[in-house]
Symmetry: C2
Subunit: 427 residues, 2 copies
Amino acid sequence: MATTTSPQTHLLPQTNNPFLKKPITTFTSQISLRTNPTFKPISIKCTATTQAQPQAQPQTQSHSSDRVFNFAAGPATLPENVLRKAQSELYNWRGSGMSVMEMSHRGKEFLSIIQKAESDLRTLLEISSEYSVLFLQGGATTQFAAVPLNICKNDDAVDYIVTGSWSDKAFKEGQKYCKPNVIWSGKSEKYTKIPSFDDLKQNPEARFLHICANETIHGVEFKNYPTPNNKNGILIADMSSNFCSKPVDVSKFGLIYAGAQKNVGPSGVTVVIVRNDLIGNAQDLTPVMLDYKIHAENNSLYNTPPCYGIYMCGLVFEDLLEQGGLVEVEKKNKKKAEILYNAIDESNGFFKCPVEKSVRSLMNVPFTLEKSELEGDFIKEAAKENMVQLKGHRSVGGMRASIYNAMPLAGVEKLVAFMKDFQAKHA
Amino acid sequence: MATTTSPQTHLLPQTNNPFLKKPITTFTSQISLRTNPTFKPISIKCTATTQAQPQAQPQTQSHSSDRVFNFAAGPATLPENVLRKAQSELYNWRGSGMSVMEMSHRGKEFLSIIQKAESDLRTLLEISSEYSVLFLQGGATTQFAAVPLNICKNDDAVDYIVTGSWSDKAFKEGQKYCKPNVIWSGKSEKYTKIPSFDDLKQNPEARFLHICANETIHGVEFKNYPTPNNKNGILIADMSSNFCSKPVDVSKFGLIYAGAQKNVGPSGVTVVIVRNDLIGNAQDLTPVMLDYKIHAENNSLYNTPPCYGIYMCGLVFEDLLEQGGLVEVEKKNKKKAEILYNAIDESNGFFKCPVEKSVRSLMNVPFTLEKSELEGDFIKEAAKENMVQLKGHRSVGGMRASIYNAMPLAGVEKLVAFMKDFQAKHA
């Protein structure tokens, strides 16, 4: 799955995208290491109307002293060099005389931005031309309705695996638009597990199988994916909180959706990757803004998209490519998670993580204190040392450290050192 | 309707908003010139976690030489001082060690931002506590569905006045969720008129009367509003393209909605102002994200809102208050529109505006050239002089100058001077 691209060079699969019929961008060299036969890369570059300003040097996971380490579950920390670049371009994007926030979404400047964002995301995840990539609004919660409205009829059976709060919410919203059935729930074990796939009792008549790939609140993550044995073979995943944190074989999915505000941008952008043959059968009562066909036909420009958020996602995608793609990103994420989980496991029970070891999230690390009365102090003292947003979700309590792509290793190391100090003081 | 506030002082009506029960912001002085008995102002200030950076001086409608004059219909030009302030704060918001894009939407920093944005908007439009103010996603197009889904049953009759493309789209989407009836259409006259209210044949059984207060594409604007004589007395308006461009008596409306990307911010934020008694009766099939009750009960924080866009809207609201409120803003808008329409009308037919004079929009000025073969040259030559996005909407052709709040008078003066030169060359 490794992709190697030089900075400034990005790949785009061939699609029926009208952007590509009338390219307004500059096409440069071609690089491809991929094997997917439907993935025929061309490269695309984001162009300015007049002169380009010098680009910021990539400063991978740098951290300035005036920054806090922000462990929030989302919106979440963004790469420092991406923020610096956004700041330098905010007032006047690359000599255009405008902020990205002011650009007509149909003007050549913004078209080049959204094209390049799509192109870079396709490169990162090796998304073939059999899939449409949509930049939408409304978060995963909107997709909880849009998915059944688009993919099934209202009397279709659908299988949901419920591994935490988010898949439960998806199931509940689905009840309005299909006949969903929970084929496995981790609720009785406080959402600390992922089921064994062999034990799943999938309904062969189900229209699709739905999972949440990473539960942000409970910190359980699918390490591989069940094979849907419904007659349509459709697997659908909410990947909001582990999107672009590691390579994923998109071809195994009918549809992937993700709010941007964890790993790839600010809140207000939702990415939907949907296999083209699943588009075009929305239920009659589907609001036009929830109809994938409308957005796919209009390249996410049916109405005014969240332009600035898409621009920010584009900067993050560039940054991920410059880091060497998702294989490299996953290595860093594994390293960070390893030292944090080790610190918990080696604390002789002073810290505890309730999640089964084999399915612990690389992104969201929930933990508790044996002496739970100290949790308030832990969070307060950490904040004094500029480590913020460590409080667990209100529904589960305890602590949670979200360590998304943009959390530097130094942030996790500092947290671990703090945990050891805290334990020494209070053991 | 005039409001006078000193910079830094903003008013908030009393509501059941939990923010106000547990205020985390600093309350300063109180100023109110309003007469609305339900409007009981208190003032609210946006606070930083550590030290505040010096605030940018208001530079009302200034224009730097490296900026273009951007006549786009939306996303559109933003106030230069707002962009400068956003730029200065992008990397590290007021000493918080975070960008606004990175803040948890449930953290004290962002709560102070969204509270202040709501408070300032309530001040600008004198919105009483009988109304909820929601910051949502999905644009007006999402509201075309959300309005009937929330306000009526699916067999309710509803009256729509169709004065252009946008009210027509609202009507068409409404067909999925109610029994809409077009009681007046300007289509046969190419959408150049607003009906005489006396001639309207309103259905007394209609659940509500829907209008588009300003048609962005066709440039027709309601100068006052019809009285709904349906049994419920509900008037609903899409105000996307003239929102906050002038004072509006909100109490005449059951619901007002507006995409932010014309007058008050970047794309990706939709403001809904809805009378509280109309909340809570959504149709069963309403997606949870389109249900006003959910958003009102959660102060727009049911799921992750478009945080950065809301922050930008907040900066614009501050700027409008610093300009003296909407009475002063309207004066500037009238002045700008006057000199542009005069230039058209005094061109001896070289330039033409098709819209009936009494209902010409202060925001969107469509015009054509008698010698239509010159229109391409007009747009191209204007762009050379840094006046961009003057092409008319693809559905109507010709030219369109959108002159929203943030378009400086100097921009319109420059356009008018250019038009006169162009005419002299080509007459």
